[in-house]
Amino acid sequence: MTQPPRPREVGQSRPRIDGRDKVTGAARYVDDLNVPGMWHGATVRSPHPAARIDSIDFSRARQADPEVAAITAADLPGPNVVKLIAEDWPILAAEEVHHVGEAVAIVVAPTRERARAAADRVDVTYTEVPGALTLDDALRGDPRVGGQVNVLASSNIDWGDVDQGLADADHIVEGEYETGWQEHIYIEPQGMIAIPQDDGSVEIVGSMQCPYYVQHALAHALSLEPDMVRVRHVATGGGFGGKEDFPDMLGAHAALLARKIKRPVKIVYDRHEDIVATTKRHPSRVRIRTGVAADGRLLAQDIEVVLDGGAYITLSPVVLSRAVIHAAGPYACPNVRIQGRVLATNTVPNGAFRGFGAPQSQFAAERQMDRIGRRLGIDPYTIRERNAYRVGDTTPTGQVLKESVSAIECLQEAETRTRFRERWQQFENARANAPDDGRPVRGLGLSLVWHGSGFTGNGEQRMNSPVTIRLNEAGAVEVRVAATEFGQGTTMVLQQMVADAVGVTAADIVVVNPDTVEVPDSGPTVASRTVMVVGGILVRAGKGLADQLMQFAKSDAASPIDCGPETNELELKAGQLLDESGAVLGSFSDIAAAYVASYGTLDITERFEAMPGIEFDEETYRGAAYSAYGWACDIIELEVDPDTLAVSLTDATLVYDVGKAIHPAMCRGQVEGGTLQALGYGFMEEIKLKDGAYMNDRLATYIIPTIRDTPDMDTVLIENPTPSGAFGAKGVGEIPMDGGAPAVLSAIENATGIVAAGIPATPERLFSDRMAGRVVSNDRAGSAKPAEGGPA
């Protein structure tokens, strides 16, 4: 890899380019767009978790509104499948429905109101059949596959000799941990417009993370060549993974309707429909047996990860893969066995969500560390410090961590800022002698996590993503990649990185809006890969562009610069061409204009190049699972109302190694926003199921934190660079999702003695945990179960 140029734009927190438009309301989201002649689509959904479809009758809908048109599975022009990893997710349910909210038919009408009214008037008759509604049902066997356990995906890691390690241990600690669903609540619900073209192609405009995923899925569904499906990204209000998979489905619905009625069709969900129908974070159940030496060193970990995949495979195999690889936490252990499975249930398919399986498995890993610490009488900080990865340690896939390992540094910085050990112990003592004065009890909790940046294993090699940098007709530098902006700041950081690579200012860089006819398939905007991976390729392309222009300046007859034959080393810096002595020879814009006048536009295209020695065997799960890892320590301080068990978070100390903060303010924004999402996941956000349907299907009942639930945050960015990322950067988008939940539960335990095994740790759950005797064992000796209304 070429040496990165000396940063100038990188590392600065300039105002966001898209900020003004978004704050003033000038930005146009899909629901703001109107295409002439456009109609609106609406969806008929299953009320049952498992049923046979007996009939679909549109007569009432047509009588009420004769203009209405409709499509069922029987009308599809191509395969009835939303193509992701497997081909099992139907665009419209054909003979059977497998979850509440599954699309059975789509209708279209001149207005949204008429379309929704028509959908309500479609009469579908069903015969209900038995299903596997919960993970417990799924573990017993799924009627859909004749009562077998319906495994959608599995992944295993086997490292060392776990049985021997357990046999050698002084202590065996066992724990079982549960996590629930999480809904993305991106601020803009899903929305798409499909515009049919005269040549038989179709244009898709919408809210999404991955334009090329939509193109591939639609080309398959419509039996078209990919270039007959043009996909254009517009201002998108958040994604968090939820706009990685589902836009393929919604795009297919819009395109099918548009091609049928030969008009543009828009479908935009309202919040309720979005929650009812779209993918969620996989619920999980993780069981861990750990063998520990008397001094607290881990000797063996035997881990079983079960994820609830919902009704279809969608992205479950890759979510599981990441869950499994992170399941032992950031801790060295010579013997590790991890067995992972995703089981099918009759619920909405679970899919991509920030963290992608790692938050679930690391929740379990972190709670297990607390449990081990309690058993051995070691505080949460010390048990982690004793076991955390250092440079030279080997992970359960056999990857030797050679550089950029900051677990200890993160821990130590967090300890310094909070005096964690001392104060944790104070709260432990206070708990034992808490007066019954109704005052809130305080607690501190800690977590330590790691998160692999970019695609797992050989994903990047396989995609071999191209990026293009173009010197355009106007002599400006264009970035052409498929990386989308959905609030996380992509446009800004791409501008900064390319500016430094070329040697111009950020204002000289134009980031072209992702559109499949304009940008190459540089891969999806997922997996915290944009800065580190796409950025890395762009830096090479940018250097290439600069080299070519400097060559031109130096030796071409058309060069506007006279720098004499003896000048060897030229440099472009902030838009100026300098010689070895630093004297300005000319400006980038003059050189670029002269180049374009003589030779026309210039495209530099580069592709992913793996770091030497980074290899992974996907069969055996051996090798470098990721080329670099981010590290983070979260410390949460909170208060618990002793009467109601209501938790209020007061302070968060967030120490994150991000490799390099390209835009420090946005980087902190990722850490703080992601942490809040993680905290909500830990103690608030809950979906309960009733007869296979989500009960919490509105924002009135799906409770996310408001600013009043948000702790003060002390955020520290550590920059321990990796040679595998642009400017040393590692992914920062997802790691903030990993540590919040376990840290909250650790703090609740410190405050109340309640050992909550699962999340969300709502007051109701804490109450039932306490009633069930799930309290720290020295507390149990006293009065664990307060009488109702009696003293705690």
């Binding site: 929704r116 009214a117 309500d120 309720h272 019954d436 004065d437 109704g438 109302d641 009467d643 109601t644 209501a646 209020s648 608030m684 309960k688 009960m695 919490n696 509105r698 009135a700 009942t701 409770i703 934190p705 408001t706 009043r708 639930d709 007051p763 109701e764 109450f767 039932s768 009633m771 009488a787 109702e788 209304g789 009696g790 003293p791």
Partner: protein, 293 residues
């Protein structure tokens, strides 16, 4: 198409209601909007109560206040007399929704909507409020205990609307306590909400009224708890016992927001804590869900 009436006075409003009994009353619309959208419901005719001047504002007299039905919670929260003599009412007003909701939501709408989780309702029970309603046949005065007939049903006859809420000024030796147990720190619907009003004479509880919400189909008075406490000497064992009675005298349900067990438990804990605080003299604000005043 929806017809919207904007009457310029109360008589006109009552006349419209008498002539068009299906007209839907709209005040702040913070409840109506939510239900209408969720149900895909449209109305043929609505009447804008905010247009009726007689229904708005707080009138203070020596021995009572009278709050117009369309008075917003934020106006109640900021009102000097309410803050001075009816602090529990100011406190509850500050826990309804968030600022935006408090700027629109009315006390009349809270009563008429009659959600078991309506936050002001247990407080009105505890303060012994009276509701003034009026129809073409004239006014009626309804003691708050008699206002809620069943789940989301209030004692309003066709053509009647709520005009005012009247509250007698509490005696000087009265303590008022309020606690909202919501699903988060703001914009939260109550899982349990309690208002308590007690008069203390010589370390004994001379009179007490406890209203509780979200623990039954309607807001309820905790009669058995009150009976045990009334006339009794204030001491910790009384608080424990009152808590125990409170947690057993209601039969709450499991729903999307909470569980029956938790609600019973918390009701008992809250009542107990209020009595303990009376003993220790700590009667100040004690909400978990104050939402920014």
């Amino acid at each position: 198409m929806t017809l919207a009436y904007t009457p310029s006075n109360l008589d006109e409003a009552l006349q419209i209601l008498a002539d068009h009994p299906d007209t839907v009353l709209v005040a702040g619309c913070t409840d109506l909007m939510v239900v209408d959208y969720a149900m895909g419901r449209r109305h043929d005719a609505v009447l804008d109560l905010l247009a009726v001047p007689e229904l708005h504002g707080i009138a203070v007299s020596d021995d009572a206040i009278s709050i117009g039905a369309t008075t917003k919670f934020r106006e109640i929260l900021n009102h000097a007399e309410v803050q001075k003599n009816y602090p529990m009412l100011a406190e509850v007003a500050g826990t309804v929704g968030g600022w935006q909701i408090q700027n629109r939501a009315t006390i009349g709408g809270n009563i008429a909507n009659a959600s078991p989780a309506g936050d002001s309702l247990p407080v009105l029970l505890a303060l012994g409020a009276q509701v003034e309603v009026r129809g073409a046949a004239g006014p009626r005065i309804i003691p708050y205990e008699a206002m809620h007939l069943g789940y989301r049903r209030v004692d309003l006859r066709p053509g009647e609307l709520i005009t005012r809420v009247r509250i007698q000024k509490p005696a000087a030796n009265t303590v008022q306590m309020y606690k909202k147990v919501g699903t988060r720190a703001a914009q939260a619907i109550s899982k349990v909400v309690v208002g308590l009003c007690a008069t203390i004479v010589d370390d004994s509880v001379a009179e007490i009224r406890i209203g509780a919400g979200s623990v039954a189909a309607t807001p309820v008075r905790l009669d058995r708890t009150e009976a045990r406490v009334r006339g009794a000497r204030l001491e910790p064992s009384l608080a424990d016992e009152a808590g125990r009675i409170a947690s057993t005298e209601v039969a709450p349900i499991d729903d999307v927001r909470s569980t029956a067990e938790y609600r019973s438990f918390v009701l008992g804990r809250v009542v107990r804590r209020m009595l303990l605080n009376m003993i220790s003299g700590e009667t100040g604000p004690n909400s978990t869900a104050g939402s920014g005043s």
